[in-house]
Amino acid sequence: MGPIRNSYKFLIFFGWSICFFACEKAPKPYILDLPPGAPIPEIPVDNQLTASRVALGKKLFFDPILSRDSSISCGSCHFQDKSFADNRVISPGIEGRLGLRNAPSLANMIYRDRFFYDGGVPSLELQVLAPIEDHNEMDFNSLDVVERLKNHPDYPAMIRDAYDSEPDVYALTRAIAAFERTLISGYSRYDRYAHQGDVNALTTEEQRGMNLFFSNRTQCGTCHSGFNFSNEEFINIGQYSDYTADPGRRRVTALDSDIGKFKVPSLRNVAVTAPYMHDGSLATLESVIDFFNIGGQAHPNKSPLIQPLGLTMQEKSDLIAFLKSLTDSEFLENPKFK
């Protein structure tokens, strides 16, 4: 009996060991909190979300180690209570340097493509390199960041855990992109009304504004469409008659027909992301509505959708009320993102 008992013990131990190591090896997946109505997102095969990748990305996102003088992080220009945007016209980089454009909201980046206002960067992973290497932002080099990560007390183990590698650019870019993909906003009062059947979630004024927003008269909803209130296109709205200061999409395509075209921004949490437009030149929602009501300035590339609207004071007020109903307080305060 003795040898048999020992065999059983060995088998039990062997089986337990397999389970233990198998469990230990399998990365813990990160379960996205998808609000009702939110589409199933596409996530790159080589950067599927895991708890360790998201945790690593979050730590990197808020770590000034990414900037040359260790003074600013991603979070220095993307504030959670501003829907991960900034209330400054142009966010200062290291040594107070100013770049070209207003910091956009990072809400629902998981549903976006062709990043930046001119769409020059094809993936969220590659986007990570831009602020690190921009002279007016972090003014650093991704390989220099990697060297810092290698000498950090925490990052080598976290990166091994997340990507089974030593610190490198691959892990750096993927981790931050992984964290950014978790920044999903879809619990506004509008969402309760539109996606959760709560007919009382919007006031009468907000409902009037919503109907106006999606009407053929204003055509707001033509470009600001879908779950994320953006059709992901590049539009010239006639903000200027001369775009010498920033030609927009032309910077990427070299096509004159793209002068003054900028990516349609999401309107999620738009009430907290002032100032507005690619250059932060409009300070309030009221000034944005006034701009569209006038119909913009003349420009050869201006979209025919941009026409004078002839809105009454009440209609302007209704539109603004609707836009404010897109604020997702839960997202702005979610401790998971802090």
């Binding site: 790159p44 080589d46 930046f116 001119d118 020059g120 960067v121 094809p122 993936s123 992973e125 590659l126 390199l129 831009a130 602020p131 690190i132 290497e133 921009d134 080099n141 991704s142 390989l143 220099d144 650019v169 691959y170 870019t173 030609p247 032309r250 910077r251 990427v252 070299a254």
Partner: protein
């Protein structure tokens, strides 16, 4: 006994044939190297040295470029392409190994061609192609960076400098000449007359950086990231071929 001697003799004979064959193969190997020497007109190039180009003082802090699409031909149009070879050319590196010349018909190097820049296929990088490359690969992430960060693709030619904008003889303004994007790929070609020998064949080129600025007033035209000042980027592109001379 006879049998053993016979076997040993046969083995020695076989080994010697094998050895001879291998030696012959080695002897027949031909390869191509490119030597590239940076110059500022007739002067030796050095970082942080103040030069005068078109009457304006300039001090270079970075001068790098990609070379690709290397291709040689003899007088009879026999060709050898080095398609997979990408060079990141820097002042501190003089010799670049291009690779073996496998086309046995080529015995004379008559025509040498290459591009400054990266072909559109490789330049249309994916994330994997870009930052999953080996660290030794010239197309991997570089420090200083040789890729656009706000857009996809590589910077074909990257020159950083300080220039004198107020005519006091001191270079005191930051100058950046970053040329890239597919339409800025620039072909460079030479007619040479050299026989290809066994072993390493080296073609020596001079790269006169001053030539890049022909027709450029450096006191006023000292910044282009290609798309923000395409006329200046085009001037530099147009001067690229003339900046190279073969020794």
């Amino acid at each position: 006994m006879k049998n053993i001697i016979y076997k040993i003799t046969l083995s020695v004979f076989a080994l010697s044939i094998l050895f001879t064959t291998s030696s012959c193969n080695k002897d027949n190997t031909r390869s191509l190297n490119l030597d590239i020497t940076y110059k500022v007109n007739t002067l030796t190039f050095a970082y942080d040295e103040v030069y005068t180009i078109n009457g304006v003082a300039i001090k270079f802090t970075l001068a790098q470029m990609y070379i690709s699409g290397l291709h040689i031909e003899d007088d009879d149009m026999n060709e050898e392409h080095f398609e997979s070879k990408y060079l990141l050319v820097k002042p501190g590196t003089h010799t670049y190994e291009i690779g073996a010349i496998t086309n046995k018909k080529i015995n004379h190097l008559h025509h040498l061609k290459f591009n400054v820049g990266i072909d559109s296929v490789t330049n249309g990088q994916t994330v994997d192609a870009f930052n999953a490359r080996e660290a030794t690969d010239p197309l991997s992430v570089q420090n200083p960076a040789m890729h656009w960060s706000w857009s996809s693709g590589y910077i074909f030619l990257k020159i950083n400098a300080m220039v004198d904008t107020d005519a006091d003889g001191t270079p005191d303004a930051v100058a950046e000449f970053h040329v890239g994007m597919n339409s800025f790929l620039q072909a460079v070609e030479f007619i040479t007359h050299r026989d290809l020998e066994k072993g390493v064949n080296t073609v020596s080129l001079n790269f006169n950086i001053a030539k890049l600025f022909d027709g450029v007033n450096l006191a006023t035209e000292y910044s282009t990231h290609t798309m923000d000042d395409m006329p200046l980027a085009n001037k530099i592109k147009a001067n690229l071929a003339a900046a190279f001379t073969v020794n």
